[in-house]
C-alpha cells in the first residue's frame, strides 16, 4: 500500500491550503501513478499460462512461431492497456458526474449514455453483419453512435427551458431514458436467435479481451479529448458540488461548466463502453475510495481517480483471467463482486 498525504485540510488556513495544493497534487499523482504503472507492468506478466519473457521478447524467433510473444503481445498487452484506458475513463467520468449532479450515487451509466451504447451494440450483434468504420469494427462503431444519440437526447431534454442545464431534469430524463433504452434492449434481445443471445449477453457482461490494438487506437483519441476537457474542470467542479448559486457567486460560468462536464464525461463513458461493454462499479467505487483517501478537492480527486481506476480495472481483469483459469470470469462480474460489497462496507462504516 502507498502512503498518502491525508492531512485534515479543514483545520489549515486557506492560504496554506492553496499553497500546498500543488505539493499534494504532485505527491498524489506520484503515489497513484506508481500504483497504476506497477499494476500495468506486472499484469501482462501473469496469466492462465506461464510464459517466458525472454522468449517473448526474442527477436530471433519469427513472430508467427513464437507462442510466448503472441500471448504477450496479442492476448495480454492490448487487454491490459484496454483495462487501463477503460478504468481511468470510467472512474474519471464517475467523479465528474457525481460532482456535476451533486449526487454521490451517480455513475457514468446514470444518464443513459451506456444504455444508448448498449442498444447500438445489441442492434448490430442481433441484426447487423460485419462492417467497419476505419479502425472501429461494427459493434463499437454502433455503440458509439448509440451513446451519442442518447447524450444528445438527454441534453436536449435538460436544456429545453433555457440555456442552462437543469440538473434535476437531467437526472430524471437520464434515469428515464436509461430504463426506456433498457426495455428496448430487452425487446431486441427477445427478437434474437439463441446464438445471438449468447453474444449479446457476453457483451453486456463487459469484456477487455480485444485481441488487437485497433480498437485501442480507435478509442484513444476520444479518451484523450475527454481528459483534455476534464483538465479544465476541477475548480468549477469544487464550486458546483457546493451549489449552483455559490458557484455563480464566485464567478463560475455555470452553464458553460455544466456543458463541459456533461459532454466530456459522456464522451469518456462512450469511449469506454464502446471498447469494453458496460463494466459496472468502476465509476462509483473508485471515486468514493479515492475521496476517502485524499479528501474532496477535485483538483486531486480527478487525477487520482483516473490513475486508481486504471489500476483497479487492470487488477480486476487479472483476477478475471486467472482466478478460475482456464475458465474466465467476465470482468464486469469481478468488478461487481469486489465493488458491491466494498461499497456497502464503505456506506456502513461512514454512517
Amino acid at each position: 500500500m502507498i502512503s498518502l498525504d491525508s492531512a485534515d485540510e479543514s483545520s489549515a488556513p486557506r492560504s496554506v491550503r492553496r499553497a500546498s495544493i500543488r505539493g499534494r497534487l504532485i505527491s498524489t499523482v506520484i503515489g497513484f501513478g506508481t500504483l497504476a504503472v506497477v499494476t500495468c507492468v506486472l499484469a501482462p506478466l501473469v496469466g492462465s499460462t506461464s510464459i517466458s519473457l525472454t522468449r517473448a521478447l526474442d527477436p530471433s524467433i519469427p513472430f508467427d512461431q513464437n507462442v510466448d510473444a503472441q500471448i504477450f503481445f496479442v492476448a495480454r498487452l492490448p487487454r491490459v492497456l484496454a483495462g487501463a484506458l477503460v478504468g481511468s475513463a470510467l472512474a474519471a467520468a464517475g467523479v465528474v458526474f457525481q460532482a456535476m449532479l451533486r449526487n454521490p450515487l451517480a455513475t457514468p451509466f446514470t444518464l443513459g449514455v451506456s444504455a444508448g451504447a448498449s442498444l447500438g451494440a445489441m442492434l448490430v450483434i442481433i441484426f447487423g453483419g460485419a462492417f467497419a468504420l476505419g479502425p472501429l469494427s461494427a459493434v463499437p462503431a454502433a455503440s458509439l453512435v448509440g451513446a451519442g444519440a442518447a447524450t444528445a437526447v438527454v441534453y436536449w431534454l435538460a436544456t429545453r427551458h433555457g440555456h442552462a442545464i437543469s440538473t434535476s431534469v437531467l437526472l430524471l430524463a437520464g434515469v428515464t431514458l436509461n430504463s426506456f433504452l433498457s426495455a428496448l434492449i430487452m425487446f431486441v434481445q427477445y427478437l434474437a436467435d439463441f446464438a445471438q443471445v449468447y453474444r449479446a449477453a457476453r457483451w453486456i457482461m463487459g469484456d477487455l479481451d480485444i485481441g488487437s490494438y485497433d480498437p485501442l487506437i480507435a478509442s484513444l483519441p476520444l479518451v484523450v479529448v475527454a481528459f483534455g476537457l476534464f483538465a479544465l474542470l476541477p475548480s468549477s467542479l469544487n464550486l458546483l458540488s457546493v451549489g449552483k448559486d455559490a458557484a455563480a457567486a464566485r464567478g463560475v460560468d455555470v452553464p458553460r461548466a455544466q456543458r463541459l462536464a456533461f459532454f466530456s464525461a459522456s464522451l469518456a463513458t462512450a469511449a469506454a463502453v464502446s471498447l469494453a461493454g458496460p463494466i459496472g462499479f468502476v465509476g462509483i467505487v473508485v471515486p468514493h475510495l479515492v475521496r476517502l483517501l485524499v479528501g474532496v478537492d477535485h483538483r486531486i480527486v480527478l487525477p487520482a481517480s483516473a490513475l486508481f481506476g486504471a489500476a483497479f480495472l487492470v487488477a480486476c481483469d487479472l483476477l478475471a483471467r486467472t482466478l478460475l483459469s482456464p475458465v474466465e470470469i467476465p470482468v464486469g462480474i469481478v468488478t461487481a463482486m469486489i465493488g458491491g460489497p466494498f461499497f456497502l462496507w464503505l456506506l456502513v462504516r461512514k454512517s
Binding site: 496469466g47 492462465s48 499460462t49 513472430f63 508467427d64 512461431q65 513464437n66 507462442v67 510473444a69 503472441q70 500471448i71 496479442v74 492476448a75 495480454r76 487487454r79 450483434i125 442481433i126 441484426f127 453483419g129 460485419a130 467497419a132 469494427s137 461494427a138 459493434v139 427477445y190 427478437l191 434474437a192 436467435d193 439463441f194 446464438a195 445471438q196 449468447y198 453474444r199 457476453r202 457483451w203 469484456d207 479481451d209 480485444i210 485481441g211 488487437s212 483471467r321 482456464p326 475458465v327 474466465e328
Partner: protein, 295 residues
C-alpha cells in the same frame, strides 16, 4: 356487501365446476392412445417427429422451428422463454413437447389434463433414446426404431471411415462475434457437439472442460494451439452470412490451424441441432477434418 359475497361464492363455484369438468374430460381420454394433436416447443424434437412419420399429427411448433419445410405453414406458439400457454391450450393438444427447464409449463399442462413430454439436450445417446421414446409416445414405434438405428449406422460409418487416422487437436466453435475474436463460444468436453467431433475423428482441445461450452480467451486459444479450427454457424433467419468478413484469425498466427490454413467454416442449422440430421452433421465435420478419407 352480501351481494358481493354471494357473487364471489358463485364465481368460486363456477371456477370449481369448470375445473372439475376439465379434469373429468381429461380422465375420459385414454392416456396412452396415439396423440393426434402434438405441439412441439423444441426444434430438435420437431425434426424427430417429422422424421418418424408423426409430422401430420403436429399442429404447432416453436418460433425457432425452420425444419423440415412443412413447419413453415404451422402456427408458432413461442419457445423456450416465451411459450404462449393460452394459444397452446386453445389448440387443444393431446401431447405437448416442452424443454426440461419449462417445468412450470409442463405442470400447468398436466394440471389441465394435457400430456407433456419433457426433453433436455444431452449426448448423442439422449437423441437416439428420445427418438425411440417419441416413437412409443406417438404410435410410430417401428419407424422410430428404424430411424434411431439408421442414425447409429451412419455414425458408425463415419467413425470407421476416419479410423486409424491421426486425430487433429480441434477447436469446435459455434459462436463468435463476426470480424473479431470476441464472444467466442467453443464446444467443451460434454454434450453432443463434443461427441460428434470425436466420432468425426477430431480431438477436442477443450475435452478437459466438463461443460457443454467453453468461452476461451485469446490467451487460452493461443495456449491450446489447435491444429484445426472448425467453425460451425447456424445460418439463422435474420442473420445473413456476412459478406467478405475480415479474417480475424490471422492475428493468432502461432496457432497451427491458422498457420497451416486449417480454419474451416461450415454453415447450416443442421450442424448444431441434436436431431435426426446429426449424422449428416458429423459427416460434414469429418469431411472438414479428414478430407483425404472422403476422396
Amino acid at each position: 356487501m352480501a351481494a358481493r359475497t354471494q357473487k364471489l361464492i358463485a364465481l368460486v363455484a363456477l371456477v370449481f365446476v369448470v375445473l372439475s369438468l376439465d379434469t373429468s374430460r381429461a380422465q375420459d381420454k385414454a392416456p396412452l392412445s396415439a396423440p393426434r394433436r402434438i405441439v412441439s416447443l423444441v426444434p430438435a424434437i420437431t425434426e424427430m417427429l417429422f422424421a418418424i412419420g408423426a409430422g401430420p399429427q403436429v399442429v404447432a411448433v416453436s418460433s425457432y422451428d425452420e425444419f423440415p419445410p412443412e413447419v413453415k405453414a404451422l402456427p408458432k406458439v413461442g419457445a423456450l422463454i416465451d411459450p404462449d400457454t393460452e394459444r397452446i391450450l386453445a389448440l387443444r393438444p393431446d401431447l405437448v413437447v416442452v424443454y426440461g427447464s419449462q417445468s412450470e409449463l409442463g405442470k400447468q399442462l398436466e394440471r389441465s389434463g394435457h400430456r407433456a413430454f419433457s426433453y433436455r439436450h444431452g449426448g448423442i445417446a439422449t437423441t437416439l433414446d428420445t427418438v425411440r421414446d417419441l416413437g412409443v409416445a406417438t404410435g410410430h414405434r417401428a419407424e422410430a426404431d428404424k430411424l434411431a438405428s439408421s442414425i447409429q449406422t451412419r455414425l458408425d460409418a463415419v467413425r470407421d471411415r476416419v479410423k486409424g487416422r491421426p486425430q487433429p487437436r480441434t477447436m469446435l466453435i459455434f459462436e463468435r462475434q463476426p470480424g473479431t475474436l470476441r464472444a467466442v463460444y467453443a464446444s467443451g468436453g460434454v454434450g453432443f457437439l463434443n461427441e460428434m467431433l470425436t466420432i468425426a475423428g477430431g480431438k477436442n482441445v477443450f475435452a478437459d472442460v466438463s461443460r457443454e461450452s467453453a468461452q476461451p480467451s485469446i490467451e487460452t486459444m493461443l495456449t491450446r494451439a489447435p491444429e484445426v479450427i472448425l467453425e460451425v454457424r447456424a445460418a439463422g433467419l435474420i442473420e445473413k452470412t456476412p459478406s467478405p468478413e475480415p479474417d480475424a484469425w490471422s492475428a493468432l498466427s502461432s496457432i497451427p490451424a491458422v498457420k497451416n490454413k486449417r480454419v474451416h467454416l461450415l454453415t447450416g442449422d443442421y450442424l448444431v441441432v441434436p436431431g435426426p440430421r446429426l449424422a449428416a452433421a458429423t459427416e460434414a465435420y469429418a469431411r472438414a477434418l479428414h478430407p483425404d478419407a472422403f476422396k
